[in-house]
């Protein structure tokens, strides 16, 4: 009894702190409803498009002097699987600084997202010597509204989870209603950029020169704060979700929408080649169960579509089984060790595909 009495002041403060946190969360949720854009979304399609456009604009300004010094420009295009697997600093070091790496990967489920989010590169004056397009063969399947509905039906409701004592089902909806959980990365990235910008301003005011790391075109791509290894339940949920997207159904790859997605990819390749770039299509590493469950027709359709480019058919690098399952954080993203392993493989490929002529923009910069 004495011990409980001694703990009472601690319980008092903890309880009040919890109430304060719930109140703050409710205020943040209300503000988010009234002003949805007050905090920029960095981890969504539009956020990535803006980030990519800024990188391209900064590279247009910075790259010409690097080209004059003989450094090649290599652009990396893709979705989250490529973004998460890339350590640009490591790749730059392993390629002996022979090229500047411009990370232009965004996020999304299909090939058209790559084309849309990297439109600023095609609208720019940049002429990359080398472009790697990192994809998964199932990116030709674009999710439809029915798929979203099927995934929503799979979701366990809070009441159902409570009745059945499903702890995971109880905590997931609670967690999803915490504003600070939903927007943690945006808060983190925004705070970082405000602090770094302030640092740059102070350094400039003192008369010194300093490159702003938040606007540097060669900066690392934004990475998720995924755990090193998701739980077995998460792996299962993801496979179910991919199943709902019909990614494991051969008929998916015969749908007109799959042909349209492949058409978008070949058009993107053609546009980049027309600017003088060597384009390489890279099949990203996949978790073994995912790789086994995607039907072979997906890869066949992809290769057939690329062959339609005739003499301009790009080289295809197949990294699907290049990493072990230990290198994956979840079924479609690598973890920290996977990123290092993939970046080493990637660096070797970059060196192998570098052209034997001077950088394309070396001549135009003189």
């Amino acid at each position: 009894m004495q011990a409980i009495r001694r703990l009472l002041p601690v319980a008092h403060i903890v309880l009040l702190l919890l109430i304060a946190m719930i109140a703050i969360n409710q205020v943040m949720l209300t503000v988010a409803h009234a002003y949805p854009d007050w905090l920029p979304y960095h981890m969504e399609g539009a956020g990535f498009t803006e980030d990519i456009a800024q990188r391209v604009a900064a590279a247009e300004y910075r790259y010409p002097s690097d080209a004059a010094h003989g450094q090649y420009l290599c652009a990396l295009l893709g979705l989250s699987s490529f973004r998460e697997a890339s350590d640009l600093q490591l790749m730059t070091r392993l390629t002996d600084d022979k090229c500047r790496l411009l990370g232009l990967c965004g996020a999304g489920p299909s090939l058209e997202d790559i084309a849309d989010q990297s439109a600023s590169l095609r609208d720019s004056t940049l002429r990359p010597d080398l472009v790697f397009i990192g994809i998964n063969e199932f990116h030709q399947a674009k999710p439809t509204a029915e798929v979203a509905a099927a995934n929503a039906r799979e979701r366990v409701t809070f009441g159902h989870a409570l009745i059945h004592g499903d702890v995971r089902g109880i905590f997931k909806p609670l967690r999803d209603n915490i504003w600070f959980y939903q927007r943690r990365q945006d808060v983190s990235l925004e705070s970082e950029s405000v602090l770094l910008n302030a640092k740059v301003k102070i350094v400039h005011a003192m008369g010194a020169r300093m490159e702003n790391p938040t606007t540097d075109p060669w900066r690392e791509m934004i990475h998720l704060e995924a755990p090193e290894r998701a739980t077995a339940a998460t792996f299962h949920d993801q496979l179910v979700s991919y199943g709902n997207r019909k990614l494991f159904d051969p008929a998916t790859y015969d749908l007109p929408i799959a042909r349209q997605q492949l058409g978008t990819l070949t058009q993107l390749i053609g546009e980049l080649q027309a600017r003088g770039a060597t384009v390489v299509v890279m099949l990203m590493p996949e978790y073994s169960e995912l790789r086994q469950r995607v039907p072979p027709i997906a890869l066949e359709r992809l290769r057939a579509s690329l062959r339609q480019l005739g003499n301009n058919t790009p080289a295809v690098v197949n990294f699907r089984d290049a990493l072990s399952d230990d290198d994956f954080s979840d079924i479609s993203h690598v973890n920290v060790s996977g990123r290092a392993d993939f970046s080493r493989l990637m660096a070797a490929k970059i060196v192998g595909f570098l052209p034997h002529h001077p950088p394309l923009m070396a001549t135009s910069s003189h």
């Binding site: 008092h12 702190l17 703050i24 990365q185 983190s188 705070s191 970082e192 920290v336």
Partner: protein, 48 residues
């Protein structure tokens, strides 16, 4: 019920508004610390 009511009141020796303000600030700091720690590289401030 009496204990619960007691728990919701400020501790002794502090003004009511001072107590609740400090409580809110600590809660906000904890939430922000959570957001900042949820980074791939939690030592981003080494950039300073």
């Amino acid at each position: 019920m009496k204990i619960l009511r007691q728990l919701l009141f400020p501790v002794e020796g502090m003004t009511r508004w001072g107590f609740y303000l400090r409580l809110l600030l600590i809660a906000l700091q904890l939430l922000l610390a959570y957001c900042l720690a949820e980074q791939n590289n939690p030592f981003f401030y080494q950039a300073f």
